[in-house]
Amino acid sequence: MADHEHHLTPEEALGRIQHVSRQVGTAARWHGWMWLAIAILTPVFILGTREGGLARPWHFWVALAFGATALVLTLLAWRRGVVGRPSAAVDHRATWAYAGAMVGITAIVLIWDPPLSWWFIAVALVPSVPCLVAARRILRG
């Protein structure tokens, strides 16, 4: 009798359910770590490209590293095999909130060109808020 045809005892069935649920849960939570990484990297990018005034040599490398990381994370998210329930519920809203905050910060930088100050540090943390909310919901399952 082939393995996929053999009869399951109730204990085997429960063990199988627990094993599969654990594996799928771990795969689904990966997306939460991605949101957490974006929450940490975004302020580093925003502040790293403002530090020292305009057009410093390291600004290019900070922007390049952020862009490359964002690209890799987007590709990984696109190719993921499991979409968890919390992720399905929160991803769309978190993405739009994050994009909106980033557009707002870009507008602030282009229009006012503010110096690196405490209020700008606070503003740079705003896009991380939806990311942290999404990460928390997904990682807590």
């Binding site: 399951l8 204990e11 599969v20 799928v24 993921r80 095999g81 979409v83 968890g84």
Partner: protein
């Protein structure tokens, strides 16, 4: 042998190794990719398709096809009917393994 034993209430459609793994995987997520399921359950594409078709015919699983670039992708999820059937199955299984007698 009494037919009132809870094991007789186990949904035979779910109570098979591959289909149980599929139902457990789909119950633990919103949607799961075909290739991920294949690797998770360690079966061939054709066998997975066969079991998924059985579950789909029963109304337990919904299939959504899309593309990742030029590559086709298939997403599977439990239907509300599938979720109810799985919940019932799990409740029966828990009843059996806890050793409680059937209330009937």
């Amino acid at each position: 042998m009494s037919s009132s034993h809870p094991r007789h209430e186990l949904d035979e459609l779910i109570h098979a190794p591959v289909r149980l793994s599929l139902m457990a995987a789909l119950a633990a997520a919103d949607s799961v990719d075909f290739r991920y399921l294949r690797d998770l359950v360690e079966v061939s594409d054709s066998l997975l398709s066969k079991h998924l078709a059985t579950l789909e015919r029963a109304g337990y699983v919904a299939m959504r096809k899309g593309y990742e670039g030029k590559r086709p992708r298939t997403w599977l999820s439990l239907t509300p009917q599938g979720q109810r059937a799985y919940d019932r199955y799990l409740a029966t299984l828990t009843l059996i393994t806890s050793g409680s007698p059937s209330p009937d």
